[in-house]
C-alpha cells in the first residue's frame, strides 16, 4: 500500500515528460506536414545525422556548453531566484579569459588552469552585482540581470575595440589568439576525425559538482529549503542573504565555464562572432530538466541534437526553424504538464489526509474533536 502511490507518482511524472515530448513532436509533425515536407524523412535524416561520427562530436561539444549554462541557472532557479544573467556572465568571462590567455606563456596544464580560473572569477564577479543589489537594495533580479546582459554587450564591444583588448576589424575584431600550446587539442576518441574537446569534460565536472553541492551538502539543503519556502527556511535558521549571494556567485562561476569549449577548442580568441545566446538556451534546458543534474543532461543532449540537426533539415528544404519551434513547444508542454501533475499530486494527497484523520483510531469522533475549523 505504501509503495503503490509512490510508484504511481513516479510513473505519472515520467508519463508527463513523455507526453510533453510527444505533444511537441506531434506539433512539429503537423507543421512539417502543413508545409508539404515529409515528417518521417525529416526525422530519419535527423537521427542519421545525430549518430554520424563528426556530428556526434559536435553535438556533444555543444551539449556541454548547454549543460554548463543550464547548471549555472539551476543554482539560482533551485533557490527560486530568476537569474537570467547567464548570457552576460559567460560572455564577459570568455572575454576576460581570452585576454588573459593571449598574454600567457605558461606551460600547458598550468596555462589552461589560469584561463579557466580567470573565466570563473570574471563570471562570478559579474553575477555578484545583481546578488548584492538584491540583498542590499532589494532590486528585482529579473530586471537587474536583463539590464546587466545589455551592459555586458556594451562593455564587451567597448573592450574589443583596437587599442584596448582587441585588434582587427569587422566581425574579426577580437582578442589576440591564445598560444597554440594552450589550445584544446581535442580527445582522440575511437572514432576518427572526431573533435570532442577536453574542455567539454568541464560539463561533467560541473554536473557532478552541482549534484553533490545541492543534494549532499548543508549549503545545498539551505538553498533548496529557501527555494521551497522562504519563511520555513528562515525559521529553520537558513541565512538567506548569504545563501542568495553564494548561489549567484556559484552560478556566475559556472557560467564562466560555458565559453571554454568554444574558446579553447574552436576559436582560440574572443571575437565579435563568438557564440552568443548560450545563456538563454541554458534556461530552456534547465526548465526542461526540472533543474536536476540528470534531467538537465538529457535536456542538453536533446536540445543540442535538435539544434545541430537543423542543417540537415535545410538540405531537405525544410526551414531549420522548425527545430526552434519544437524546443519552445517542448518547454511549454513540460511546464504545463509539471504543473498539472503537481496539482494532481496535491489532490491525491488531500483525500489521504482526511482519511488519515478520521481513521486515526484514538481520535474521538465527537462534535468538537478538531477544535479549530
Amino acid at each position: 500500500m505504501k509503495l503503490i502511490p509512490h510508484l504511481r507518482g513516479a510513473a505519472i511524472g515520467l508519463l508527463s515528460s513523455v507526453a510533453a515530448l510527444v505533444f511537441a513532436a506531434a506539433a512539429a509533425w503537423l507543421i512539417l506536414a502543413a508545409t508539404g515536407a515529409s515528417p518521417l524523412e525529416a526525422a530519419r535524416a535527423m537521427v542519421l545525422n545525430g549518430f554520424s561520427d563528426a556530428s556526434a562530436a559536435i553535438i556533444l561539444n555543444s551539449a556541454a556548453a548547454y549543460y554548463l549554462s543550464a547548471v549555472a541557472v539551476a543554482f539560482t532557479f533551485r533557490l527560486n531566484l530568476f537569474n537570467i544573467g547567464t548570457e552576460g556572465q559567460y560572455r564577459i568571462a570568455a572575454l576576460c579569459a581570452a585576454a588573459v590567455g593571449a598574454g600567457l606563456s605558461l606551460p600547458a596544464p598550468l596555462g589552461q588552469v589560469v584561463i579557466v580560473t580567470t573565466a570563473m572569477i570574471a563570471g562570478a564577479v559579474w553575477a555578484a552585482i545583481p546578488a548584492l543589489l538584491k540583498t542590499l537594495k532589494g532590486v528585482n533580479e529579473v530586471i537587474s540581470t536583463i539590464a546587466l546582459n545589455f551592459i555586458a554587450i556594451g562593455l564587451i564591444s567597448y573592450l574589443l575595440a583596437p587599442g584596448r583588448l582587441g585588434s582587427g576589424s569587422g566581425s574579426n575584431m577580437g582578442t589576440a589568439p591564445i598560444a597554440d600550446g594552450l589550445r584544446d587539442s581535442g580527445i582522440d576518441i575511437a572514432v576518427q576525425g572526431a573533435g570532442l574537446h577536453w574542455s567539454s569534460l568541464l560539463a561533467v565536472a560541473a554536473g557532478i559538482g552541482f549534484y553533490v553541492l545541492i543534494e549532499r551538502t548543508v549549503f545545498g539543503f539551505d538553498l533548496r529549503a529557501a527555494g521551497r519556502s522562504v519563511d520555513a527556511a528562515r525559521t529553520g535558521g537558513v541565512p538567506l542573504g548569504r545563501t542568495i549571494v553564494i548561489a549567484m556567485v556559484l552560478s556566475g562561476a559556472t557560467a564562466g565555464l560555458i565559453g571554454m569549449p568554444a574558446l579553447l577548442g574552436d576559436s582560440g580568441s574572443f571575437t565579435l562572432s563568438f557564440p552568443s545566446g548560450l545563456g538563454f538556451i541554458g534556461i530552456a534546458v534547465a526548465l526542461f530538466g526540472g533543474n536536476r543534474a540528470a534531467g538537465m543532461a538529457v535536456g542538453a543532449l536533446l536540445f543540442s541534437f535538435l539544434d545541430n540537426s537543423s542543417n540537415v533539415l535545410q538540405l531537405m528544404d525544410i526551414s531549420n526553424e522548425v527545430v526552434r519551434i519544437m524546443e519552445g513547444l517542448i518547454i511549454l508542454a513540460v511546464v504545463i504538464t509539471n504543473r498539472l501533475t503537481s496539482r494532481w499530486r496535491t489532490n491525491q494527497a488531500r483525500p489521504d489526509r482526511l482519511k488519515d484523520m478520521s481513521a486515526a483510531p484514538a481520535a474521538p469522533a465527537p462534535v468538537n474533536a478538531g477544535g479549530d475549523a
Binding site: 543534494e215 551538502t217 548543508v218 549549503f219 521551497r228 484523520m357 486515526a360 468538537n368 474533536a369 475549523a373
Partner: protein
C-alpha cells in the same frame, strides 16, 4: 440605541439550527441567533468555537448542511458573497479585503462603480462616499491610498465599502482585535450612529467587556453549539458570559501542575525587549521575562497582542530595537536563528504550513529542517542522508507519526501527524529551551496528549518551555507560571493553580483581575 424591541417585529437576520461539517471536523453543530432590526448583536465564543464558520455561513462563503437563514423574515440561500451583498448583507473581515496601492475611492466603488459616458464618475463617487462618511461620523480622504491609512482608517474604509453597496445588515468579524482602546470607542460611536439609522449589526468578539458595553443582545457559542441564544445584554454579567463561553468542563480536566522551580537556574532571559511598530505588527514594550530550567511558562493573551513578535525576538527571526536576551547568562541578542538553535533554542512555529514545513519535501528532509547543521543530519557541512533517514524512522516510531516511510511528502500527512513530526524534530537535539507557539493547534485530542507527553518528558529533564496558546485550558493545565500579554506588554503574572479560565479570559481582555 433601542429602536424596535417588540418581539413581533421582523428580525433583520435569523439563523436557525445551522450545521456545518467539514471532513473530520464539525465546525457548527447547532447554531441559532436572532438579530433584531436596528440593534447590535454580539456573538461571543472562544477561539475555535465556530464563530468564523457561522459568519461564513451567513455571508454565503459556505453553505450550511442543515438549518435555515432568514433575512428580513424571508428564507434565503446564498450561493456566494455576491448574493449576500445583493440581499443587503455586508461583511467587514478581520483581515481587510483591500488593495493597499489603490485609493480609498477605488477600493470603495469596485464592482459598484458609478459611470458617466463610459468612464468612472469620480465626482459622484466622491459625493457618495462623503455622504456615507458624514452618516457614519468619520473623515476619510477619498483620494488617499489605502496603504497610507492607519489600521482604524482601513477598517472605516471596509465599513464604508459595504455601506456604499447599500448593506443594511453589517457583519463585523472581531473588529476590535486590531484597534487600540480609544479607537474602539470611536468605532462603537460610529456603529451606534448606524443603528440609529435603522441598520442592524452582527458583531463577533471574544472581548467580554466590549461586548457588554456595545451590544443589545448576546449569543454565546461553545464548541459549535449555541449555549445562549440572543440574551439581552443588560441581564448578564461578564462573569456569566465567561462561564458560558468556557463551560464547566474545566473541572474535569487535569489538575494544575505543582512544580516549584524558583530555585532552578535561569535558562532564557529577556530584559526590556522592545520592538518598534511595523505595519500589521504589534510592537513590544519593555518585555522582561525569564524561564527557569524544567519550567513551563505560559503566555496568555488574545491573539495579536504581541505573542508572535515575542517568539520572533526569542528565536532570532527579528532583532529587537532595544533590550537584551541571554541564555544561561550568555548574551544571545545578536545571534542569528541558526546559532541560537545550536545554543539550544528549539522553535515550534506558529504557522505550521508556512513556517515549519517544506510542504512538497519528503519527511526526512523536513525532519532535518532547522537542524541541518547537526548530527545525525550532517557532519562538517556534508549531509548524512542515510543516517538522517534512519533517524527519521526512529522519530516516526517514537512520536507515533503515522507515515509509512521517511520518503513520503509531508503534505500527505494529516495536521496532527505533521505537528508530531515537528515536535519530534525540535525535541531531538536536546534543546534547553522550547519556544512553543500553539503546539497542539488543529490537532485531535489523542495527538494533543501524545505531544504533551513528549514535551513534559523533556521538561522533566530540565528543558524550559515558553508556551503560547489560544487554548486557555492548555495554558492552565500545562503552565507552571502564566503571564498575561496585552498590546505588547506583559501586564500580569497569575498562578495557574489559583485562577480559572473565566478570570483568565477577563484578564486577557484587559479587565482587572480580582484576588481570589
Amino acid at each position: 440605541m433601542a429602536v424596535a424591541t417588540s418581539t413581533d417585529a421582523v428580525a433583520a437576520l435569523t439563523a436557525k439550527n445551522l450545521r456545518k461539517q467539514f471532513p473530520g471536523v464539525t465546525a457548527n453543530q447547532d447554531v441559532s441567533l436572532t438579530l433584531r432590526a436596528g440593534t447590535i448583536h454580539a456573538v461571543v465564543g472562544e477561539n475555535g468555537a465556530g464563530k468564523s464558520t457561522l459568519m461564513k455561513l451567513l455571508y454565503g462563503i459556505h453553505r450550511p448542511d442543515a438549518g435555515e437563514i432568514r433575512v428580513n423574515g424571508e428564507r434565503t440561500s446564498f450561493a456566494s458573497p455576491k448574493d449576500a451583498l445583493a440581499a443587503g448583507l455586508g461583511m467587514v473581515h478581520q483581515h481587510f479585503m483591500l488593495a493597499d496601492n489603490l485609493s480609498v475611492l477605488e477600493n470603495v466603488i469596485l464592482g459598484a462603480e458609478p459611470r458617466k459616458a463610459g468612464s468612472l464618475d469620480v465626482p459622484s463617487a466622491v459625493r457618495g462616499i462623503e455622504a456615507i462618511c458624514a452618516d457614519l461620523g468619520v473623515r476619510l480622504d477619498p483620494h488617499a491610498p489605502v496603504g497610507d491609512l492607519s489600521v482604524a482608517d482601513r477598517q472605516r474604509v471596509e465599513i464604508v465599502k459595504v455601506l456604499y453597496r447599500g448593506a443594511r445588515i453589517l457583519i463585523l468579524d472581531e473588529p476590535t482585535a486590531v484597534l487600540v482602546p480609544q479607537e474602539v470607542d470611536r468605532l462603537f460611536a460610529n456603529l451606534t450612529r448606524l443603528t440609529d439609522r435603522g441598520l442592524s449589526i452582527l458583531f463577533i468578539s471574544h472581548k467580554l467587556d466590549e461586548v457588554l458595553s456595545i451590544a443589545d443582545d448576546v449569543t454565546v457559542i461553545r464548541r459549535g453549539v449555541t449555549v445562549a441564544d440572543s440574551l439581552p445584554a443588560g441581564k448578564v454579567t461578564a462573569r456569566e458570559l465567561a462561564e458560558l463561553m468556557i463551560g464547566t468542563e474545566l473541572a474535569a480536566s487535569d489538575p494544575a501542575r505543582s512544580r516549584d522551580r524558583s530555585a532552578a537556574r535561569t535558562s532564557l532571559r529577556l530584559e526590556n525587549v522592545s520592538l518598534g511598530p511595523v505595519p500589521g505588527r504589534q510592537a513590544l514594550h519593555e518585555v522582561t521575562l525569564e524561564l527557569r530550567e524544567g519550567e513551563i511558562v505560559g503566555i496568555a493573551g488574545v491573539e495579536g497582542n504581541g505573542q508572535t513578535e515575542l517568539i520572533e525576538c526569542a528565536s532570532g527571526l527579528r532583532r529587537p530595537d532595544s533590550g537584551r536576551l541571554t541564555l544561561f547568562d550568555r548574551d544571545i541578542t545578536s545571534m542569528d536563528t541558526r546559532r541560537r538553535r545550536s545554543a539550544g533554542v528549539a522553535v515550534v512555529a506558529e504557522d505550521r504550513h508556512r513556517q515549519a514545513l517544506l510542504l512538497d519535501a519528503p519527511l526526512w528532509e523536513n525532519r532535518m529542517l532547522g537542524w541541518q547543521t547537526h548530527s545525525p543530519n550532517s557532519e562538517k557541512g556534508w549531509l548524512r542522508r542515510k543516517s538522517a533517514r534512519r533517524d527519521t524512522e526512529r522519530l516516526l516510531r517514537d512520536y507515533d507519526v503515522r507515515a509509512h516511510t521517511p520518503d513520503v511528502v509531508v503534505s500527505a500527512l494529516s495536521g496532527g501527524n505533521q505537528q508530531k513530526l515537528i515536535i519530534g524534530r525540535e525535541l531531538s537535539h536536546g534543546p534547553k529551551v522550547l519556544l512553543a507557539a500553539h503546539p497542539t493547534r488543529g490537532v485531535d485530542i489523542a495527538a494533543q496528549q501524545g505531544i504533551w507527553q513528549h514535551i513534559e518528558r523533556a521538561v522533566s529533564r530540565g528543558m524550559s518551555v515558553l508556551l503560547i496558546s489560544a487554548d486557555l485550558d492548555e495554558l492552565l493545565t500545562r503552565s507552571d507560571r502564566l503571564l498575561v500579554m496585552l498590546r505588547g506588554r506583559l501586564v500580569a503574572e497569575v498562578d495557574p493553580r489559583e485562577i480559572d479560565a473565566a478570570r483568565l479570559g477577563m484578564a486577557m481582555a484587559g479587565a482587572e483581575v480580582a484576588a481570589p
